[in-house]
């Protein structure tokens, strides 16, 4: 019976739309805890950086080709090493400025990929938590007072390239027990260096967090100085493999992924077809 068939199509269409709505609401409502994600509103997210500087989101490193290096600054924190540094190098050579920081494995791999033979020494702590916790360490980048969260230091860095230090009241926690032990070096530790390539440069900071929500307020002067008139781009290519984060990014950021319009068109097409069939 034609009436039963159109009823079935109507039910299927309504159910699909409801499921879509439910999915959208879930995506909007759910909170993301992925570090360095611009849709993460917790301490280790970059949502405030994104909002404050009206940044753009980078879904794939290949998209860097669309940006002019001398007019942009890329913030590229990661937990896992990059597979290929070539795209980044191309961007920097054309005048791009990249701030790199994150987990030690990422930084050490990154520096080795740039030809610097280095290894991890230990985390830098402070015995005087004037800030919220011992994981927040005062220091400076280009002589601008800054705060690092969970900084560490590495060996094999030449002094000429050093641009970041921890404060006099920091120490190197060699046994990683978050307490000062007799013999652990007290004093400024190297926390960052500058590597010039072509027209641009990398600012590599040895810290797990620098521009995240719970440290950004301390470091706005530093990022302002580095940004100047550049546009901010935030690398999110590490997170797009997570479908939930990916969907949240597409919905909550100003940058749209390539397939978004195709998906929208598909949804509209389905609704139209269902409407026509039911009408008949």
């Amino acid at each position: 019976m034609p009436q039963a068939r159109s009823r079935l199509i109507l039910i299927l269409t309504v159910s699909s739309l409801l499921a879509l709505l439910a999915g959208i609401l879930i995506i909007i409502g759910i909170s993301i805890e992925t570090p360095y994600s611009v849709v993460n509103n917790s301490d280790n997210g970059l949502s405030e950086l994104y909002d404050r500087y009206r940044g753009r989101v980078l879904y794939e490193q290949a998209e860097l080709a669309n940006y002019k290096g001398e007019r942009t600054l890329l913030v590229a924190p990661r937990t896992t090493p990059l597979k290929d540094i070539g795209t980044l190098n191309n961007y920097v050579e054309k005048g791009g400025l990249v701030i790199v920081y994150g987990k030690p494995e990422y930084i050490i791999n990154f520096l080795r990929a740039l030809g610097i033979n280095t290894s991890f020494i230990g985390y830098v702590r402070t015995g005087l938590p004037a800030l919220e916790s011992e994981f927040l360490v005062s220091g400076n980048v280009y002589n601008i007072d800054t705060v690092f969260k969970n900084p560490y230091t590495i060996r094999g860095v030449e002094a000429d390239y050093v641009i970041a230090w921890s404060s006099y009241l920091s120490y190197l926690d060699l046994n990683e027990n978050n307490l000062y032990d007799l013999g652990e070096p007290i004093g400024p530790q190297i926390l960052g260096l500058e590597i010039s390539i072509g027209e641009g440069k990398y600012v590599v900071l040895f810290t797990e967090f620098f521009l995240e929500n719970n440290v950004l307020t301390y470091n706005t002067r530093c990022i302002d100085r580095l940004l100047e008139t550049r546009e901010l781009i935030i690398d999110q290519s590490e997170h797009v493999s997570n479908p939930l984060v990916y969907l949240k990014l597409t919905m909550e950021t100003r940058s749209s992924p390539p397939h978004m319009y195709v998906s929208l068109a598909l949804i509209i097409f389905i609704i139209l077809v269902a409407y026509i069939v039911v009408k008949e």
Partner: protein, 584 residues
Amino acid sequence: MTKKYMGIALFIVFITISASVFSSSNASRGVDCLFLLAVLDKTISYAIVRDPLGEIYARSLLETGGIPFELREYHMYSYEAILRYYELISNNEYNSAIIISKVREIQLNTRYISDYARRLESCSINREAAITLRVSIDLNTKKLEEDLQRITLFYSGSGHEIILLDEYYTPRDEIKLIIPNYLLIDKVEIYSWPSHIKIGEYSPLEYNETHVLFKIHIPSARLLDELGIGSYHRDPLPIALYAKLVNGTYMLIGITRVQYRLPSIVLETPFITKRGDLLEISIISSDFYNATIFLNGQEINRLQITPGSIGVHIDYTLYNYKIGSNDLTICVEPTMETTRYCISRSFIIEPKYPRIRVSAVSEYISWNGFLTLVVNSEDYVNAYVFVESPWGSRYLELPSRGSVNVNLYTGIFPVQVVNYKIKITPINTTYDELVIDNRVLVLNIPIILTLVVLSSLLLPLVSTHERSFMFLIMSSRKMMRQVFEKVEREVINPILKPYKMGLGSQIALLYYGLLKKLRIKQPEISETLREHYIHISKTISNALSLILWRLLLITEQDLYSSKKPSIKEAETLYHGALDAAGEE
């Protein structure tokens, strides 16, 4: 149904969307004492070799926050001493007096370094490492002090040292200062530190060829109190000794501390007393003091406290006392060594009630609709009794050592909770007003009896219909139906009457008439026309049963439908049935 499922689905969707919890649990942690020890050791180590890094560390540590409150003073004085040392050694000052003055300042603060190190040692988790660092700090501090001594000797020239001040003095002490003549000191003045209130000045006592002697009397607590400097009994009072030179300028001799103490007195008071009774207090003291007694802030007495225990009787009724909690304070005047001190105790003044009892029960059976209470006085006191209940109030007079009955109306309900309040106000006495609040559950017998009688009278007046209906409900079983058959018929027949009469339907009358003519059993009251048809159709011919069926349908239509059938059709079927039955 579909809407219901959609609603449930939406509900489940919204339930699963829960706001994420943003938690930022960066709880601040305590300071690492071993780290502070290590930094202190590092800073002093730099200082004794005059490494500029020491000054950077000292400045950073002075500027940093996060030092626990109990360590803050030691931290500050220790690093100030080190900073001032760096200032001293980098100074181009050649004035011996000024340099010696600066050295004195540093020497006063270097004493804090060892104290600070000890405190950090005690709060360090790793005690062995802490002890190692503390010992190193002590050694380095000693080297620093030796350096300061050398500076002093160098700039004092004659080789005689100015006597250093002790760390603490008591008010009975006197400080002897032997100062070289060449310093040209006119007077020595004492100031409180750092508030800089002048406490006293002293002229030289003795002279000789090379030196002048000053004897400085440490100020008494009484003097400090007069000067409004305050009470320093917990922490010693810092005082600064300044030398006023002949040319009018001042030179700091040193800063020391004076330890005062509290007067040792103990105040004992009773916790509770009845209004009107005297308050007996005890004051135990080890010395003579002048004191003032206050009640709730009002001065009520002055007395001299002597060593030992003294008892004091206070008639608080003459002053601003209150029923309930009151504060008694004794303030002791300052003496030579002891500061002004106040000690307070709270005590309760209870109201004084007359011995008047009210008979109290929780349940009461009332035979007359009233609740009777007996108010009995055991004291020689007349009183007014004011009784209040939901149905009114009344005044009664209670004689001395007598009793009075109070009758309270209990209302119109058979069971009632009666709340009452009785206020007993003694007449012309020091007793306080007594208020009694109570509640009683009253069983009102007259009301119960009245209700029983009323219901017995009213029940027969209930109509037959209602009564029969009640009986019908009660008698729904077959056996009981036979008993109430007559009543049932009497009730049911009038109800069914329109139905039996065909409810005004001519066709129904025709149908009943036909059945009668054909000598077919009439339908029973309890069966429908169709049920009746099923029974009779077995006993009649097919032709007749068909006609009767058609007539039955028309009859039902005429009875229940708004579309009435034609009477002629019914008549035709009527005659047809008669023909079929062979009758006319």
